[in-house]
Subunit: 401 residues, 4 copies
């Protein structure tokens, strides 16, 4: 952290808006550096220029947080998910921290190290085993002296509590973020109760990330805030949603949508959708506002532009953007110039160009979660027998729909 950069707690305690960054796995998958399926972040070692460039773009877009690209870099995950190079989780995470720090130093940003849910938990390993995985990742973050820690993308609050308990041993600020919506975690624990448990476990910031669209995530955090306040506790709040519209999701989020992960394009939010999201998040009292899968740099810039008055400044990247489309004043066609105004973009309902597609999907809904045999993790790819089982389950699901 450069001397002039304020800590996360100082900022949030002062009521400052902290802009997060966007999700790296989806953005780098589209750029050719992450493999969908295993989703592992070895690019920090093999293609650092690509990871560095994405950090820079988010910094330009106004991000105050550079999350080290360490998602799923636990060794059990790397081993489990087809990672064949001989690169360890520690190597990946160290490189990730260095890249995040390098770019953070170029602007007004903090470096965060993160842990997320483990295959071990889903496969019912013990608390000790699971905590050991978090500890191994934390060791790297401490060695690299990150500015704060995030426990994010947990579908079960219990595992998130374990993560927070491990992370808080570091003395660094801890933010905890679940991949849940208003219906609560995979065992049905409500957002309010989840938040209370995370605060009690030691998190200074609580919220949700991934799995749902911005408005749904904001709603879930609103419920968290109500829960925390009702319990007489105090916390700061964060939200880092998808950049996809997901009104048709059930409790497990976008993973269950038929379009996940390779046909989500028609659901991508516009920058104008992001203005509404940022305003709503702010109104609800959330101050750490960022993004997850689907967010591109221009999405974060829109968040930063919407909150520019509250922040007291525009993001650097706005030198290449006219707020609300004003730069279209210089377009060659007069009817496009006529779009250089807020009213136009705020009310536009964009067409999909896909008249043979419906607007909503029917998500999968197996209702299985941690502990179910269908979710026991293994290293091997899907077998023919497993595939048969899945197709049967889907057929059954449809006939009762």
């Amino acid at each position: 952290m450069s001397p002039s950069t304020l800590s996360l707690e100082t900022r949030l305690n002062a009521g400052e808006v902290v802009i997060g960054d966007g999700g790296f796995v989806f953005a780098l998958e589209k750029r050719g550096y992450v493999k969908a399926g295993p989703w592992t972040p070895e690019a920090t070692v093999t293609h650092p220029e690509a990871v560095r460039q994405l950090h820079r773009e988010f910094l330009r877009a106004g991000s105050n947080v550079m999350q080290a690209f360490t998602f799923y870099a636990s060794d059990d995950k790397l081993e489990n998910r087809g990672q064949t190079l001989k690169i360890t989780g520690a190597q990946i995470n160290e490189a990730a921290c260095d890249l995040a720090r390098e770019v953070a130093s170029e602007g007004d940003a903090l470096v965060a190290g993160g842990v997320s849910q483990t295959p071990s938990y889903l496969s019912c390993k013990s608390e000790t085993d699971v905590k050991a995985i978090f500890k191994k990742q934390l060791d790297v973050f401490m060695k690299k002296n990150v500015d704060f820690l995030i426990a994010e993308y947990f579908e079960h609050v219990e595992e998130a509590e374990w993560a927070v308990q491990v992370l808080k041993t570091s003395g660094k600020p801890v933010a905890a973020s679940l991949a849940i919506g208003p219906e609560g975690d995979m065992h049905g624990v409500s957002p309010g109760e989840c938040a209370v448990r995370l605060v009690k476990a030691g998190a200074q910031v609580v919220g949700v990330n991934c799995h749902f669209d911005p408005m749904t995530c904001v709603e879930a955090v609103k419920m968290m805030k109500a829960g925390v306040e009702k319990a007489g506790l105090k916390a700061h709040y964060m939200v880092q949603p998808l950049a996809f519209h997901t009104p048709d999701c059930n409790c497990q989020g976008f993973i269950d949508l038929p379009e996940f992960p390779f046909a989500l394009e028609p659901r991508i939010l516009t920058r104008w959708d992001m203005h509404k999201y940022a305003r709503e998040a702010y109104k609800v009292g959330i101050r750490f506002i960022g993004g997850c899968c689907g967010f591109e740099p221009y999405h974060i810039r829109a968040v930063a532009e919407e909150l520019a008055t509250e922040k007291g400044k525009m993001p650097p990247g706005s030198d290449k953007h006219g707020m609300w489309g004003t730069a279209l004043e210089m377009h060659t066609k007069p009817w496009v110039r006529a779009r250089s105004r807020r009213e136009y973009w705020e009310h536009l309902k964009p067409a999909s160009g896909r008249p043979h597609c419906a607007s909503l999907s029917t998500p999968e809904g197996w209702g299985v979660t941690k502990g179910h045999t269908d979710l026991l993790q293994h290293k091997e790819a899907t077998t023919t027998q497993e595939m048969q089982h899945v197709l049967q389950m889907q057929k059954k699901g449809k006939s009762t729909a």
Copy 2:
């Protein structure tokens, strides 16, 4: 051109598939380096790392062509479009050529220099004036020794002919690409006749780029090919369409869609749409197959993967991609693992998640083109009076619709 890299003509004469790259202005606008409206490419000078990175991603995706990022870098455009930095078109174009060459040398790619339609033509300047602009750009390309030249994004075949005539003086191969669909150019010249005129002007490769979705562009090139063959001429064919679905466009293409340029997200093609595009383009006899606005690296990779058998190899970036989703075999949820097969993705009709939006828009349709006073270009931003005029024209357009 590295010694082992074959020339464009050698490749096309041998029937080889040449994979183009994607559009830089849209991709870099989303990354924060190009301003929508003026769309000028000064990032080659101010942020070379961002331009270089995008070139690298397309190279990894399988592109055999690195188009120097010189779009709209003519001085009349730079002057006209709010570019306030003191950077000349020559500086931008030289830097663009250097970046393209640097990355091309890292793989199997050619460097192309391009010119496109000028504000001067729309404002009815003389043939001599317009050609002088092209010549100035060509001088840079010759100094930097690009491998071939592209005259692209012309809405009027006449201006494209002038460009080809200038470019062919260089002795380099010339490809000419119009921004038209099956209805022909803005003066109603059919695709077939356009192609004949371009071939006669000296183009070795003819085709279309931008303005329409892949299937529409392929259809237009098919009509070009029929025209050229009927005239007893010979040519190679190219196509570099949008990565947006545009079934509702009229003859002027996606610029007239209400969503242009800031709300096109729901129209973005999936990688699976790209497989269909690449196959169809190949079937029609097109061998230079690339993309324009909206194409991200993964779109080009999908084109390269679809034609991998014909090319004899997979693109480098496929080390991070399972063809037809096969890497999902290693996903944590069994129902997502069940999506690791071609049949699933090939038949999926993706939902938009936007039930309050229609699937098609009604485009603007003023029917004005080169020579109309509404299209006289000026340096100043839109005036209030002009805006009134536009809104009146739009109201009139709707009442007669």
Copy 3:
């Protein structure tokens, strides 16, 4: 009631399914005999052949109830709603009872007389005044000796209680049906509590009608049943929903949809949607199953066909219908013959043929109800001043949406 026709209570106590009829105002509006806006039923006097024919069609379709077409025939409504002929409410209702009885005698059907919410209640008249209106209508029903009574289309449970209290003085069975969804009545009384109050007021059958689509109405009745059972009471249940899909409605139902009442066509349910509705209503324990606005005879026939096994017989009109499309076996085109099977129709997702229209609307949502000055009823048509007020309210509604 013909000697062989069993009473409503006998049937429901025996667990028999009683098929209702469809809504007359919408059906006769389309046939040219009811004026949308006032919606008054003077056609029973002026065009008895049209009313008789519609009764006959519902009888053929399987209806066991002929509801006399007396909706909104209270004198205050007739006076209030532009009815200029010198026909009294009593005359209309007497003619309605005669027509219903005439057709009921041709088959296995009961005659019902109905009352519904009054402008007087919305304008805050006293309980005594409102009850006097119901009593005046009841006098006709008693004179004409209908088989049972229905208090239906009430948005406020309080007014429905008053109606039930008046109707039960007759000694006839009383069914009470609210125009509410799962959110409860216009004052926020939950479906469960509404049902309890209606049962306590003396209704033997309770349920909902109009305002929402079938699945929403069934859900509301399910909540009513849970409320009644929780209160340790007993009742039978009825449902007579719209034949329009209304997933986008708020608590006031389809009246607030922008399409009401003249552009609801794209929302009309197919006969196959009706099969699902009938099955679901039956599963939930509802035994009086009919329809309201939008139901045409073929919709009722589909309900009767779905429940033919439970009823022990097919409706008479099924001599002109192959269950699940089987009569298509005799179509001239082989690909249409291939549609003569249940699986085809059960899974078909019908297209709208309207690519420029969205799938959901944003309903009005003023949140005003009984007692609000905006709802004071008057005889005069809307004034310019009132219209201004409405447009202002709508603008306000949108800006806060």
Copy 4:
């Protein structure tokens, strides 16, 4: 024809607008009197009150033509299509003429007798055989002294010519109407050429009916008119389209849509769509303007209201309708009263309430027609073997789509 009723030719020669009626098979199918599949009109004998009532409703709606309900009442069709009652085509057609005449006498309407395409033609019977069928039907029309004759719903102009040749022997005016769109008849004969052939065969009025939506049909008739005028001939023009939106149809029309015939509801036109249709038809020069499948009485009334100025009077049924929704001025809710204006309804884009359905379908496209073995007609229902063949053909069709 009552003494005061002018003949079809007198009216059309005077430039008067003649309003047709709507289709009986679809309307009566929904009312329970026609069986979809065979579609035969025995209801004229078995349920005359239902047929009479529908005639009356169209008369009230403004129809100047009562088409005797004789569609598909040729004996070969009756025999072929599962008609098991011992009622002959002659009996059905005589009853149909009597009903049409009875109602026509109650207002300002002409009686028309019609013939349409025969299974015999599709099965390649001889000209003599096919003409004999038409002659048999004509004998009834002459005995009943209809006012004019219509040869309608022909997919092949050749068969329509045969019909016209038979009908004109009567000396009555003959109107000829094909079930084609702008692509022409099933053998690819263009609308213009079809029209010329029909005029030469002796038709005074030519046009199209059924198979496509109003705007498509008007377009086809426009092409017919251009063809007739180019050939230096003279004719009057008629159009009787579907009341379904069919932008996704191929050349064989709505029969090929997956929704035909039992799930077309979302495609039904609103009354406001009908205003646009009537105006467009009038502009093009068509003066016999009516409807076919899907038209309900209120659709015809909308046509008559749109052309009331040209007709010099409103239809009788408009006493129950406020033009452009004006009667909503008397609705109970102020926001519904605000809809009592043309601008509101003219620009409304109605939602489907079906977010899981697409807006367009992919029609079947076998490309088989008269003479193909798949279309040989037989009396028996579809065999299992035929069904297998169909499913194979469909699978093949999809894989090449």
